[in-house]
Amino acid sequence: MIPELHVGWVLFAGAIGLIAIGVGGLLMSRDLFRVVLALAITEAGANLLLVLSGYRFDAIAPIVTNEVGGVMVDPVPQAMVLTAIVIGVGVQALALGLVLRIYRAYGSIDVAEVRRRMDDDIAAEAGLPLPSGREKPAVHS
């Protein structure tokens, strides 16, 4: 007999899997846009975990109705997750905006290239020799 797979465990595994995928993406992406996507996936995993932390499969939705009896799902995590999702979206929008700005400034969204250009710019502003060994930083807006 196949043991019954509780749907909760599947969801837990899914949440952790999402986080793992996201972390993998953060580590391995060479492209800023993918980094943003990976961050979004990680956040989704964390949110799922949070909503699961208060969820009960035998309960009803936490809405006050005329129906009598029955245990309600804890509404607090759901409220919190809604907030977290909104915040997450805001942060992602900001991140995408920054990626766009970086692309306009450096003409590249490659992680290593941006890093190198940033180091050069900071060094040039401070009046130090450039770490990359170039003569002067490329012109940017």
């Binding site: 972390v23 953060l26 580590l27 180091d119």
Partner: protein
Amino acid sequence: MSVLDQLLVFAFMTGAVASFIGDRRFAGTLLAILYFGQFLLLVKLAPLGYGAQPVVSAWQPALFGEVLVWRMDALGWYFALITVVAGWLVTWYASGEWGQGYRERGGNLGLMHTAVAANVVAMLLLLSSGNLLSLFVGWELVSWAGFLLMVMNGRESGGVSGPAGLRYITYATLGAMALLAALAIAHHASGSFEYIDLIDAVDQMTGPTRVSLVIAFALAFTIKMGLLPFHLWQAPAYAYSPGPGGAFLGAISSRVGLWGLAMVFGSLIGIGRIAGIELIPGWFDLRDVFMWVAALTIVLPTFTALRQNDARLLLAWHGIGQGGYMLLGLAAGDALGTGGGLMHVLNHASYQAPLFLAVFAVMHRTGTSDLNRLGGLVARMPLTFLVMLIGIIGLAGLPPMNGFVSKYLVYISLLRQGEPLLFILAVIGTLGTVLSVFKLLHNTFLGQLRVEHMEVREAPWSMLIPMLLMASVVVVTGTAPGLVLDWVASAQAALGLPVLDHTLGGAAGLDMLWVSGVLVYGFAVGTLLFLSGNKSRRVHQFDNYAGGHFLTAENQYQYSDQFYAGLMHHIGGWYRASFTWAESVVIASVDAMSAAANGFFRRTQAVFLLLLATLGSVAWLLWGVGS
């Protein structure tokens, strides 16, 4: 308000006056008078030097639950006396023509006066500290006041004073942190910062605690004294300070390290307990470490001094070596040794300061302290020559000057304790001192006068009087060492060390009154013989010949450069190089670690680290709770 409070307030006021009007023409004179006022207040405290009870300050601020206490005892008074007199005389020295010249060369005279005054205040605060916390406060103030004096001479020193000062302050911070560690250990062991509680707690300490306490104290105080292997900072830092400042620092500033060690050896921990910490059982204990460090500090820096061609550096290197005698005597632990060691502090200050000042007087007139570019100045600056002559006899430790008395006491102590090897090292050090101070005197004052110095005049009286006063101290305390030994004996009593049995003429069978009498008698006989002979005739130095050649400015019969060339060839410079090498290894390893830390911030994948740290700490917590 006790006399101690009056003294401290007066010293603060002197500093304030120096910082407000230090650059005026009359400031030096006014400040010298103020220092004399401090001296008078110290004289009012003189009963301390003859066994009176310590004087306590009425002001005891409590901060963060800890109290700062100031209390002056016989030891502190003895050191404070040297400090204030040194401050007084060097300020007098700077008050006239020297100060004018310094300002004309672009120096900041006001800052120099302020720095000297700050040094005196800091020293007084330190020397009268009544518990470990006020000791640390005073310690740091002395360190940083000294730093101010060392780095302020940028232009005069051609830019070398900055790096020398930076090296000093790095070493000094290392020492201060060692002292802070000692404070922490003491606080842990005794529950307070009071000396009394620490003394009570020493017996209950576990072995490792006591050893680490001794090591922490020793590290702090030996770094300040410039003992081996922490001596590299001292010579350049002192040599490139402005003249009177350098004389002050060289005379007394680094001796606060000895003051601290005297407290550790005497009252706080006790030389007996230190000797009880055996490194190789039956053969070698912690006290032996101190004695051997002291002996090597006598020999190696002294021979480094021999190699110097800058008179200032030569003297500064000797200052390090003389510290070795003081520690050697102190670590010997008996009445003779500690008495000799403590007496040597005053003796050293009394000849080191006028020697420095004499070198700066020569610099003031000739513009150089390079021993290869001087010579024959005795004909032009006879009184400065006299000061230096008295000074170097004292430094070399020959009778009838005071340096002989203290070294003699240390020698006798070593022989009585059965330490022939250390005695031999000390004597070798004296030999090196004799050689190098002769080089100093000869290359500056003897031989032929150089053409460019034909018009040089004697130093002005504003510089000569302080120098002569200091030199007279060397003679007087050399003839009647009992004057100083009274104070030394009180200091020994205050520390709980065995007290030196002495007379006005000396101790341990030495009677300097008699020795000086014989020397004066012999000198008188020689003078009579000289006067009874034919009159000598003065000729110009070029009105002469040597080896069949007539002499000209280019063709002299006597040269002062390449002194001791043969000896230099034999002793080489390996010991000096080995310490600079060790220092550079430390710097290189900090550099390497620093590069690694920079690399960490520059290159690592941040998210990867975050993940690693999370997993690591979660795993650690799971494991930690599970086990």
